[in-house]
Symmetry: C2
Subunit: 326 residues, 2 copies
DNA sequence: ATGAAAGCGCTAACAG
DNA sequence: CTGTTAGCGCTTTCAT
């Protein structure tokens, strides 16, 4: 089905058919109706491939995100929703290893994307700079290390962690530890920094414990370990909700009460954190708002643009009640 | 950057450049290296848009899925992973209302997809048939109602629910109820049927309770309601994990013990069901395998193809222990 | 083994 | 308001 088929059926030229779909106002109503009907009868829909070729705009927005994790799935959802609201479409590429990102970008770039969103704090800075190419607009998502190399939209990691830490301090916490995902991730570093500054100001040290990945299982091991060793601080500041769920279950499995024996906080605000089963105190990322910012930045092209969005402290069961010291 | 630019730099014709990328074996090694180097220096990547136009194959696979729900997010992830492993790309379109599906399909069809996957049991049969068009291959995912209209890949809903029911019966359950999501959904109906047959064979009636949506909140209300009314059966067979989490929290909030007072089962096997915080007995859908089947069916084109995949009964905390009758 | 040339379906400038 | 025309960048015969 091409516009020629429709043209023949409607008894007009091909370009009139094209106009009916691209700029209907330029076509007389009678003609327009005739063409529309012919198109409907033939089941014709203009080809975005051909149009994209002609226009040098594919109408495609790509996102490159980690293959796993509740948080990233929410991010994909948000992009799908918001990109779909325009007349554009979303190309999703996931990757397991950071090494695979390079290849993923290459194959996705073949589609001459109108915009490319790079997510994941574990993508290296070198990779980002190699990708800030003329053709497509690139925006980094939650990847503080990209600052200055590509336009960036990120939640306020440091400020968010600081808010969580202050909340714990107000609760009377006298000792704490930080459970990170991957220490080389820039989000991890900023969250740690945000927390350590607050605790430091109260002369409370904040050891860094690395889970190894941003997963439930990694968190579970940390929780179980802490419980077995037995030296449990008053609070655990965990770098991500998903790790925190694991930490909590690992602790509880070994008889440690949360929040009774130890208060736990997360980061991200994934849907389950609000479920009563965990009721996790966390820093909620306003994902929809962040995604909206990304889509705006895509139209601009200022490399040094940085949009930092404040998250929202959401207090729940895992930090309820006073500490024994309190 | 076009193949002409590369050709000029490498001192060959444009068609040689194209060959190097499309069918490298047909080009002498020396030439090939020269071209590859030129391409790399210029940062040239062949345009899939132009290629798709010429070949009438976009290399794009589209999925249309509901905008929300843990389960669907896992499905998107699986598609992204598996489609990406080929040299194809994934176009994701989400929708909130079933009414929006029609429009979503239209705009996605403009990309001349090599394959289109329709997911969600709430898409109407009429819509599906209107979409089984010549151009692109359509496969229905977990949408039993599509049987005969489009090739279909689905988990064995009825068999899975039956397995859950038998498990509960073996536990000595004497009364039960079914909590569905949306009664018009074909998956809901089959799951109910699978359970009701098993209970019926033991002379146990199985009232159907409709939550109204496949969400945690809808489940929570049901759970809270049941607890308040106080007539709690020995077991609740819930149509989806996410609803089940809500049911459990709603019950527990009002002092009802799970599995002490009532055993609860889910369906889907989303990641959190395996987390100890809930430890939900459920029917695990082998999503990766189902997605693989879909991608295979896309190449074929037998409308009456139906692939039914067995799920796996995973027993966990929410059905542990004997009933008081047992 | 390489080059020349046609054409995929569309848009937009231009002519009428 | 509508028709004619020239490409967009690539793949693929068909020659050489």
């Amino acid at each position: 089905m091409t516009s020629f088929d429709v043209a023949k059926r409607a008894g007009v030229s091909q370009s009139t058919v094209a106009r009916v779909f691209a700029r209907p106002a330029l076509v007389a109503e009678a003609t327009r109706n005739r063409v529309s009907r012919a198109a409907r009868e033939l089941g014709y829909v203009p080809s975005a491939i051909a149009g994209g070729m002609r226009n040098q705009r594919s109408g495609l927005v790509g996102v490159v995100v980690p293959a796993q994790g509740e948080y990233w799935q929410s991010v994909i959802s948000a992009f799908a929703r918001q990109v779909g609201e325009g007349s554009r479409q979303l190309l999703v590429t996931t990757f397991r290893d950071v090494q695979a990102v390079e290849g993923a970008i290459q194959s996705i770039s073949r589609y001459r994307l109108d915009g490319l969103v790079l997510a994941s704090s574990t993508i290296g800075v070198g990779q980002i700079s190699r990708l800030t190419q003329p053709n497509h607009a690139v925006v980094a998502f939650n990847q503080p290390a990209a600052a200055g190399i590509a336009p960036l939209v990120t939640v306020d990691n440091q400020g968010g962690a600081a808010a969580l830490a202050r909340h714990l301090i107000e609760l009377g916490v006298k000792s704490a530890a930080f459970v990170g995902g991957v220490s080389s991730a820039s989000t991890d570093q900023l969250r740690y920094r945000g927390a350590v500054e607050q605790f430091g100001a109260r002369e409370i040290s904040l050891p860094y414990i690395e889970a190894g990945s941003f997963t439930y299982d990694a968190g579970y091991k940390i929780g179980a370990n802490l419980a077995e060793v037995g030296r449990i601080p008053d609070a655990l500041v965990v770098a991500a909700d998903e790790i925190a769920f694991g930490v909590i279950d690992g602790l509880r499995r070994h008889g440690v009460s949360v929040p009774g024996d130890v208060r736990v906080t997360g980061f991200d605000g994934v849907p389950q954190s609000a479920w009563e089963g965990y009721g996790l105190t966390t820093l909620v990322q306003p994902i929809e708002q962040m995604v909206a910012s990304v889509l705006q930045l895509l139209s601009l092209s200022a490399v040094d643009q940085i949009v930092t969005i404040e998250g929202e402290l959401r207090i729940a069961n895992t930090t309820r009640g006073e500490t024994s010291h309190g």
